[in-house]
Symmetry: C2
Subunit: 208 residues, 2 copies
């Protein structure tokens, strides 16, 4: 059976990653988004196993200890993590999966999933990155500078990725994103060789 393709997307804050991932779900509804584990309490309407796997902090810490996360982080006292087993079982069952992960996490993915497809989104320029970070945050200049420094550090990790998209136009960047998805699915090692065999190499009544 065909294995699923693991698509991994990373970007510095302000590069437009979230919008691109949302649009991708509309065009490719069959590509599932990875479901994270969290110790945060479910909000109104959130479903366990759909939006998150909701677990107790003690369970989460146990999973960290056993090395079960591809990546995890603590944000405002809550833990969030991506389970290696979850990703592995989705891919094994033939599901194409989109994993939105930070640049540090990207390195781990390559180690455990060498066939994964890593995509890096770049903002069009440093100045536009700055404008985007300023536009959505009412923070002091030094806070923005610190965020720019973090973004710069993250950008330096792009070389570990298979593809680089410069998001200077949402439409163009999305077309490129979709092209990568389409192309990767056409890789010879991923096409259905049994179908080809059945179609073109089965003897028929003409001996062909």
């Amino acid at each position: 059976m065909r294995k699923g393709v693991l698509f991994v997307i990373s970007a510095p804050s302000g590069a437009g990653k979230t919008t691109l991932c949302q649009k991708l779900s509309e065009l490719f509804p069959e590509i599932k988004h990875s479901v994270s584990y969290t110790t945060r309490k479910p909000r109104e309407g959130e479903v366990d196993g759909v939006h998150y796997f909701f677990v107790e902090k003690q369970n989460f810490l146990g999973m960290i200890e056993k090395g079960e996360f591809l990546e995890w982080a603590e944000v405002h006292g809550n833990y969030y993590g991506t389970s290696r087993e979850f990703v592995s079982s989705m891919v094994s069952s033939g599901t194409d999966l989109l994993l939105d992960i930070d640049v540090q996490g990207g390195r781990e993915i390559r180690k455990y999933f060498p066939d994964s497809v890593l995509i890096f989104i770049l903002p069009p320029s440093k100045e536009i990155l700055r404008q985007r970070l300023e536009g959505r945050m009412s923070d002091a200049a030094e806070v923005i500078e610190r965020r720019l420094k973090i973004a710069s550090d993250e950008i330096s990790g792009y070389k570990n990725y298979n593809y680089v998209i410069v998001n200077d136009s949402l439409e163009k960047a999305f077309d490129e994103f979709a092209s990568i998805i389409t192309a990767e699915r056409l890789k010879t090692e991923r096409v259905d060789s049994s179908w080809i065999k059945e179609q073109f190499f089965k003897e028929d009544k003409n001996g062909y």
Copy 2:
């Protein structure tokens, strides 16, 4: 400087390769088509160096002897060949090149141009391949069977290619073809790293 990408396309007769290549030129006019050498005389309007490189038979045979062709063939007494030096100089100068070549030729390409992108076009099924070969040729059944046998042999070479497109709808197949071109150009090793460096890693007045 960025090297050009060498796109190689192969298909059995009747798979729709010619139409796909023509449409590609419209969408990507900057991708040049490889110019073959031939011993055939130029026809009205054919320009040397544009449609073909027109050479004398003796010169052509000399080039064969010196191993200068990636592939060559004799058709109805005329010789046709793809010069390795021509392909090499186009790619070195940064030009993306489309090379329409038979399946035997595809193997040679990989040897001399390991970074080339090899795309194989499949007809949707054996029956439709048969219909297409019948539809355009008024030949005896045994001639068609022989052509089908040749097509079948050619199809068995698909595993040496990077991508496989099943041409069951021209629109879909062309979208897939264009996606491969777009995606390959976004590969990290092909993007302009000096631009990224200039944009994001040059110290500016803020020390960022």
